[in-house]
Symmetry: C2
Subunit: 339 residues, 2 copies
């Protein structure tokens, strides 16, 4: 199935509104899912809609909730997401930090009780669009084993960092796991072995058999583990949310969402730094044009591939697997919104 | 040669004072070098003293310089290091951010024109000692190739993150390179091959021959590269300092130091977050006691090994290779401080 962006947005909005979401909230949630599909990040795209709808039906998502932003100190806000949609709460939090950073130089917003954020890059991009450095961190269900340990005790704990540059910002968006559970499952469904280093089995032995996987490995060995753990702690310490196996509600439909989200913005102009956009941009261009390592496609700047993929999707449409499309059609019928 | 901490501190202080450093500045610099040696991080220990002294003689280090801290906005300071010792400027900057964060919730200090910071963990620990989250980033000479590229265009760009916990804080201190150039050189001197994945030769081919190394690889493949590049950009954008090959003066004696340093503190109490120290500490204990992966020593919490090594060094003394000791003795004679 090939969808235009407009068709995907309308479809998601119709379903969410039929399930009780205010139109404005449905639009933000639809935008976040569609952005993931546009960039080829289908694991965070429209295929999440059935879980979102079921969580609305069970009361784990309050579709009309307005987050409460409390500035208990001049540069740091605590944000109660009140079980609202992740993208609405997250973008309110990032914009609040971004506006405040114009005055204070740096500002952060620490979010609890919001639902799944979805794709992380657009939050950091909100800051970059305002000429600021943006950073977004979030915790997630324990799927990753600590380095040297067997059971999964860490989230895939992604981070996004955007730094303004021309013509486009630097946008890093990465999980701290070697791979996503979605990729492991895709290999399982296709009957293909995993790469070495992706995962452990129940005895803690590295495995390439997707059916035997009990925990995903952190990326980058002990250092990647250190970073994943730092994110687990930074988010919990600033938001007062759950840790390790107590993090629930971003993949399942059974429980409220207990993870946290941390957004941080820096206004380098307010800080008094010289304008570095031209220097950063020419350094990034220098990197793009460095001699390629034999056997590789050369150097990519984080954000470039996603931007190119997005541009192509806007031209040719968003391709969805039949299985995903059937689930969405079933949702539409249930919601009484089928054409 | 086996030194007590007291002997190492006194030795460094005597040399630095003889070279024109005020006693108080010499003490901070000595503390930072000795902390590295205590923790077994000898590449950042007393063996750096000859380069520091030569940089003082050439005017690249102004040993009496007092950094200028400018709060151009309430939560963000620009710090002019005025060619001072890295540890003095860095600790002034971190303490300034830390004091300010008590009022503003989050605060940062962006440093230009300071010399080499040395070991990073103690800066983050300064924040943790005050009950705050601390983060320290710095850039360094281009020794690391971008993922997919041949030449070295990124620093080893280390980061340190400390989060308060009991009985000891979480303290991550890691470079974003696979290994340090010091380790490559140590293999060269011992005639031992490198591990796979550490470095590239002049043609961009992975090499295990230490003599053929032209660039160190980032840790963790494309993701580690993304993080190394993010640090390069974050530091330059906030401090107005150099990028890539234009970063000089942390290893050499020829040039002024053009890198930058970024320090950030978060006061979770000012932010209004619940006190999470007990939860974080019990989660860390849970990690420490998880079943070990077969063939490993089990799970370590970042900071634990360094703390244990430090404790042992305080008991048995700091062991220095003869070659390092001879260099230090030569410096003492030159400085006229030999006993």
């Amino acid at each position: 199935m090939l969808l235009t962006l407009q068709a995907e947005l309308q479809l998601i909005e119709e379903v969410l509104v039929a399930e009780g979401a205010p139109q404005a909230r449905a639009e933000v949630q639809a935008h976040w899912l569609a952005e993931a599909d546009l960039r080829g990040r289908h694991s965070h795209g429209i295929q999440r809609l059935p879980v979102i709808v079921e969580r609305m039906r069970r009361g784990h998502i309050d579709p009309g909730a307005e987050p409460a932003v409390s500035w208990s100190s001049p540069a740091a806000a605590r944000v109660d997401g009140r079980r609202g949609f992740g993208p609405h709460v997250g973008s309110v939090a990032m914009l609040a930090a971004s506006e405040r950073a114009h005055e204070t130089g740096v500002a952060l917003a620490a979010v609890h009780d919001a639902n799944h954020l979805g794709i992380m890059a657009p939050y950091a991009e909100l800051a970059a669009d305002a000429g600021l450095i943006g950073l977004a961190l979030t915790t997630s269900e324990a799927l990753v084993h600590p380095w040297g340990g067997v059971p999964a005790m860490l989230g895939t704990n992604p981070l996004a960092i955007a730094v303004p540059a021309t013509p486009d910002p630097f946008v890093l968006d990465m999980a701290t796991s070697a791979v996503s559970m979605g990729l492991v499952l895709a290999h399982l469904h296709r009957g293909e072995p995993l790469d070495e280093g992706w995962a452990l089995d129940a005895d803690g032995r590295p495995t390439t058999n997707p059916a035997a996987v009990r925990a995903i490995s952190p990326f980058g060995g002990a250092k990647g583990y250190g970073l994943a753990l730092a994110i687990e702690l930074l988010v919990a310490a600033t938001t007062g949310t759950a840790l390790g196996a107590a993090v629930t509600g971003t993949l399942d439909v059974e429980t409220v969402c207990t993870k946290g989200d941390l957004f941080l913005c820096v206004d380098t102009a307010a800080l008094g730094a010289p304008d570095m956009v031209a220097s950063l941009s020419s350094y990034l261009d220098e990197l793009r044009s460095t001699p390629a390592q034999p056997g590789t496609d050369g150097v990519a700047i984080p954000g470039d591939h996603a931007r190119e993929r997005r541009r192509r999707s806007l031209e040719v449409g968003i391709e969805l697997p039949d299985a995903v499309w059937e689930q969405i059609e079933a949702l539409r019928s249930e919601a009484g919104t089928a054409a």
